[in-house]
C-alpha cells in the first residue's frame, strides 16, 4: 500500500491504495466520484478524461501515485456554485449527448481544447476530439456544442 494525496475538485484527499491503482480507480472507487467513466481497457475511448493540473488526461493511463500532490478536476467539479460551466450548458443546449456515457470525458476534453484553441474551427474540434469516442451522437452536435461554448467562453 502507498498513501496518495492530492486535491480533487478543490478538496484535499488522501488514501492508502495499492501501488498499481490507476487514477481512474482512485477517483471512482476511493472517492466515489462516479461521473468519470471507464469505456475501454486500451486507453482509446476518453470516457475517463479528467484535468490534472489544468490539462486533460485520460485517467486510465495514469497511476494514482503519479498524481501525488496534483490538482485534479473531474466532471463533478466543473460547475461552480451551482452554475453550469459554459461547456456543460452548451452540450445541453445543442443536444450534444444521448446516452451520456461518453459525455463527462467529452466535456472535460472539450474544455481543455477551448483553453488551448479559444476560437477553434470545426476541423480543429474534430481533430482534437479524436481521442474521445461517442457511439450515439455521430459527433455532429458535439462539434456544434463545442463551437457554441467557445463563443460563450469569449473565444
Amino acid at each position: 500500500m502507498t498513501t496518495v494525496s492530492m486535491t480533487v475538485n478543490g478538496k484535499k484527499v488522501s488514501a492508502d491504495v495499492a501501488p498499481n491503482t490507476l487514477l481512474v480507480q482512485f477517483i471512482r472507487d476511493n472517492l466515489r466520484l462516479t461521473g468519470t467513466h471507464v469505456g475501454c481497457d486500451t486507453s482509446q475511448c476518453g470516457a475517463c478524461t479528467v484535468h490534472v493540473n489544468g490539462d486533460s488526461v485520460k485517467s486510465c493511463t495514469m497511476l494514482a501515485a503519479q498524481a501525488e500532490g496534483a490538482d485534479v478536476t473531474t466532471i463533478e467539479g466543473l460547475a461552480k456554485n451551482g452554475e453550469l460551466h459554459p461547456m456543460q450548458a452548451a452540450f445541453k443546449e445543442n443536444h450534444g449527448l444521448q446516452c451520456g456515457f461518453c459525455t463527462p470525458g467529452m466535456i472535460m476534453s472539450a474544455v481543455d481544447l477551448v483553453k488551448r484553441n479559444p476560437n477553434p474551427s470545426e476541423e480543429t474540434i474534430r481533430t482534437e476530439l479524436e481521442g474521445n469516442i461517442c457511439r450515439c451522437t455521430g459527433y455532429h452536435n458535439i462539434v456544434k456544442s463545442v463551437k457554441a461554448a467557445a463563443e460563450n467562453m469569449g473565444g
Binding site: K92, H95, I133, C134, H140
Partner: protein, 783 residues
Amino acid sequence: MSVENGIGASVRRKEDQRFITGNGHYLDDMNRAGQAYGYFLRSPYAFAKIKNIDLSAAKSAPGVVDIFTGADMVADGIGGLICGWGITSKDGSPHKAPPHNSMAVDAVRHVGDQVAFVIAETLEQAKNAAELIEVGYEVLTPVTNIAKALAPGAPQIHEEAPGNLCYDWELGDKAAVDAAFANAAHVSKIDLVNNRLSPNPMEPRAALGEYDAGSGELTLHTTSQNPHVARLIMSAFLGIAPENKLRVVAPDVGGGFGSKIFVYAEETTTIWAARKINRPVKWTADRSEAFLTDAHGRDHVTHAELATDNDGKILAFRVSTKANMGAYLSTFASAVPTYLYGTLLSGQYKIPSIYCEVQAGFTNTTPVDAYRGAGRPEATYVVERMMDTAAKDLKMDPTEFRLKNFIQPDAYPYETPVIMTYDSGDYPLAMNLAKEMIDYNGFAARKAQSEANGKLRGIGVAAYIEACGIAPSAAVGSLGAGVGLWESAEVRFNPTGSVTVFTGSHSHGQGHETTFAQIIADKLGVPIDSVEVVHGDTSKVPFGMGTYGSRSLAVGGSAIVKAVDKIVEKSKKIAAHLMEASVEDIEHEHGVFSVAGTDKKLTMGEIAFAAYVPHNYPADLEPGMAENAFYDPLNFTFPAGTHIAEVEIDPATGVVDIVDWAAADDFGNVINPMIVEGQVHGGVAQGIGQALLEGVIYDEESGQLLTGSYMDYCMPRADDLPNFRVATTNTPCPSNPLGVKGCGEAGAIAGPAALMNAIVNAIGKDIDMPATPEKVWRAINSN
C-alpha cells in the same frame, strides 16, 4: 391553441442535467454493502471439448469466496438461454436451437465462451484466482466463415444441428419469380457481403445481483433495454426465481443499439450466484469482454438478381442469403435474417414478385443478433445496391430508375409480395427533397472540378424502408415470435397535480424522459418539469416489452396516449359533476375542461385534486386519478426516406472523404425535432462506420478474434465523419394515435447503401464493406 413544450417543440432534454454534471447512475457506479466481485474465466479456444476442470488451487487462493462452473448451474436445475422466435424451414421442420448453457458444460464453441465464474472479495483477487484454474481442453478444428460452415465436411459444432444448419427458410413465390426471370429483357446480378459488426455501446455490460434471504427476493440490476423480458426469460426458462420474487432493474444505460436486448450468460450467472453465496455480486465487463461476448450484428453473404423490362420497369427480384448465427442462437437471432429481412426486400418499389431464401448456420464465433436496424439494414443494402447495379446496366440515372419504380403516394395501403402492408408514405417527395438538399443536378460540375484536381468523385443514393414499432402481437405471433409485442403505460396524477408516468419502454439515450413528458404536457397541460417518467424497473412499471426496433414512441408512446384518454374520460365525469353540467357538454383541450357555450372551466390539476379529496364527487365513480393502458398496434409502422452521400476519393491513397450527406426521412409526426435529428446523426454515423471502418475479423484457422479492442476495431471518431444535412417529410402514420413512425434506426439502415453506392459510383467498380483505403486503392488499381 398550442402548449409550451408540447408536441412538435425541440424541448431541451430533462435527463441531461444529471449526465452533464456526472450524476448519472450507470450500473458500475452502484455498489452494495458486503458486495463480492465476479470474474469469468473464458475459453481461449474457438472450439474444444472440456475434459476436466480443476478448481482446487483457485479455490484456496486469497480472497476467493466461491467458484462455480456450468455443471453447478445444471445441478441446481438452472435451464439454458433461449431463442424466443421460432423459424420454420422450407421442409416444415423447426429451426435447430442447440442447448446454450450460461457456462460451458462439455464443450466451448467460441473464444470467450464462459467456463467458470470466480467470486472474490476484490476483482483483482478474482482475476488472480482464475489464473489458477486448470482446464483440460481437447482442442478441435473451428470454422468461423458461414459459407465454409455450411459446406460439406465442415467441423460439426452442435450434434443437434447437422451440417451446422440452423434453418433453410424461404419467402415468396418461387415459381412466379422464375417465370418472370425467364421472360425478362434484362437480368442484373450482384454478390454482396454484409460485414460483421460489434455494436459497442460505450458503457460495457454489467450486472449487480442481490438476494434477500428474508423475503427470498432476488434483485438484478443490469444493463438492459428490456428488463421485463429479461425477468420473464430468467424466470420461465432458466428457473432462477418466479417472476414475483425476481426484480430486474435497468438504471441509466449507456447505449444499447440492440446489444442490450438479449439475455446473456453473465447476467443470469451473476444473479444465480448471489443467492448461492447469499451476498451481493457485481460483474462488469471490460471492453475486451464486450468484443468477445456482446452479440454481434449482420454477417450475411448474399447473391441477388433483378429482372427488368425494356422500359426499365422491375419485373421480379430474387435473393439468396447465408446468415451467420455464431456459436449459439441468441435471444432474437433467428428473426433477424428472416422476418426482419426478407419481408423488407420490396423496398420502396412496386415489384410484382419476389423470392428470398436464407440459410442460417452455426460457426465458432460470438453469437449474432439484432444490431441497430436488425435485418433491415441488410435488406436495404441488398435492395439499394441492386437498384444501382440495375440502373447502371440499363444506362439510367439511379434516381430516375428508382422514381420510375416507386410505389406511388396514392397506392396505400400497399401489399408487397413479402407479407408487409405499407400503410402510408410519399417516396418521390423524400427523394426529390434529398436531391435538392445535395444539389444532385450540380453533381456533374462538381465531379469535373474534382477530376481537374486529380480526385475521383461519386454520388450514391439509398431509398430505404423499414418496418418499425415492432408489434402487432397477432402478426408477430403468426410469424413465430414467442412473445406479444404490445406496450404498457400508467399515468398517475399525484394529488397536488404533478404526474408520474410509468412506461414499459426503456431509455438508454433516446430521451424518453423528455419526449414522453411532452406528450403529457401537450395532452393534459401539465408543465414538463412536473412530469416524471419512470422506466426500467420491474417493481414499478406494470410490464414492458422494452425498447428496440424504433418502437418506443409508436408503441410505448401510444400506450401513454391510451392511458391519457382514460384520464380525460374520467376527468370529464368529475368536471361535469363539479360544474353541474352533463358529461356530453364537457369539452377538453390541453388539460382545461369547460362547459360548452359557457365560461365555466376547471383545470386538470383541480380535477385531480378533487379525485383524491372526493368530498364533492360523482357517486358512482372511483376516487383517485391513475390509469393504465396496454397498447397493441394494428400494424408495423413504415418509416422511409432517401439518403444521398457524396464522396471524393484520392486515387493515390484510396482514402474516401465524405464531402456531403443529405437525409430526407419520413418519420410521420415528430414530437421533438431536436431529438429526432440527433437519432438520425447517430444512425448515419454507425452506417458510415459499417461502410468505411468497422468489421469483426476472426482468424479462420484458429478462430481467434483479431478485432478485440479499439486498437484493432475501427470505431468512427469525430474526424472520420462529416456534418449531416437532415430534413423530414411527414406523412402521418395511420396505425397509431400519435401518427409517429420511429426514427432510431433509419440512419444505420440507409447509411451503408448510400455510401457504398457513392464509392462504387466514384471508382466504377464493385467493392465490399468496409471500404478501407487499402481496399479502395486495390480496386482502383485492379483491371
